[in-house]
């Protein structure tokens, strides 16, 4: 059970949150090609390692924020507000 440090509320249990998929996904304009649009909809980096993702504190403050998490150890490496750039992380194996 992940212990997620909500930037607004502090560390809370996983069931209080909703997972929101990858972060920093840019929505392409209407003029994009089918391949570009499908890539936006469906392609995933799905990394074995650090994943930048969105979480919502659904049963708490109701705010979305970003998390950098290791998908093997589940260790949370960084938490940062929605709209903020990806932080620099030390290399984690």
């Amino acid at each position: 059970m992940l212990q997620i440090p909500c930037p607004y509320c502090g560390v809370r249990d996983e069931p209080e949150f909703t997972f929101g998929g990858p972060a920093h996904v840019t929505r392409p304009p209407l003029s994009s090609s089918d391949a570009e649009w499908a890539s936006y909809l469906f392609d995933r980096t799905n990394p074995k390692g650090v994943h930048h993702e969105r979480w919502l504190h659904a049963y708490g403050c109701g705010r979305w924020f970003n998390v950098a998490r290791n998908t093997i150890s589940h260790e949370i490496l960084a938490v940062y507000r929605m709209g903020v750039q990806k932080p620099e992380l030390e290399s984690h194996e």
Partner: protein
Amino acid sequence: MIVIGGGGHGLATAYYLAKKHHVRDVAVLERGWIGGGNSGRNTQVTRSNYFYPVSSSFYDHSLTLYEGLSRELNFNVMLSQRGLVSLAHSEHELEIMRRWANAIRMNGVDSEMLTPAQIKKLAPRINLRSRYPVVGGFIQPRAGISRHDAVVWGFARGASAHGADIIQGCEVLGFDITGNRVRGVRTSRGAIAADRVVMSVAGHSSVLAGMAGFSLPITTMALQAMVTEPLKPLLDVVMISATIHAYVSQSDRGEIVIGGGADVYNSYAQRGALPTMRSTLAAVLQLFPSFSRLRLMRQWAGMVDVTPDTTPIMGLTPVEGLYINCGWGTGGYKAIPAGGETMAYTVIHNRPHPLIERFGMERFARGALIDEGAAAGVAH
């Protein structure tokens, strides 16, 4: 030829390449030990009750192969076609379920609607009156369970007997690609040249695809399974509720085998989260309150690669000579024989087998998803 991945699909591919297509030099590369991935971690549900005709044709072909598999491989895979019951918990759900049950019949596959009384007769211990009462369901009589290790080992022995090499402890570290054509692989045990390579690695598919320069629409997640201590026979069918997210069966050793929904965040950990375990067990106790005093003996998880439409990705890739078989999500075990057979054909002919033509990666850019959400649901 190289098959990357020594799970059920990879070994079956090698088997059919060697046996049916008489390929003498095919090697299966497995980074761990064969069957150590999802093939050895699933809950063994073997069924073909799918909605869309294109899915149904494929999965029922696989079930038909399962029906003759013990004899084909001369290895008892212990296929027990005891029936799979899917439950509906509201009138609306029953309508959706009837649509599904009729679809299956239209596909030429067996299914029957069931009343609550009929369900009770099949599973006397079921509680029809829980928070979400059971208002009906349907059964695929030919569905059931089989023995996952035996399927893997049977195909491995068969492939090996027909000349395939199975190399364990061999991890693929990169591809040798020139002129957009695959020439071989680099592994932890050296380089191997090959002009046809199949990737059959489930949760690691994105990792391998990344090495080959393309991406896939898959997310790798943990899918948990649990068993209780073994008991005398008390459940003779496989029972699934997509509404409350649980499925239950009893293995031939007597253990109650339980599965539920996947943990929804990306994970390569092969460990399930505690909240999911608790909610899955809560769902099981809704259906079978008398299981409350049974004890959880062992709990584990696999690493499932989930696609946006819960339909697999099979066929050619942007790299010539490189073929993909992935995206099985929570439902790859039942597909092992047909997965191997169709991939073997695909590799030999360099075009998808008719049964899998619509499962190619290119379907996403066209918006041609095959959404078996209802059919795949919680079960496999």
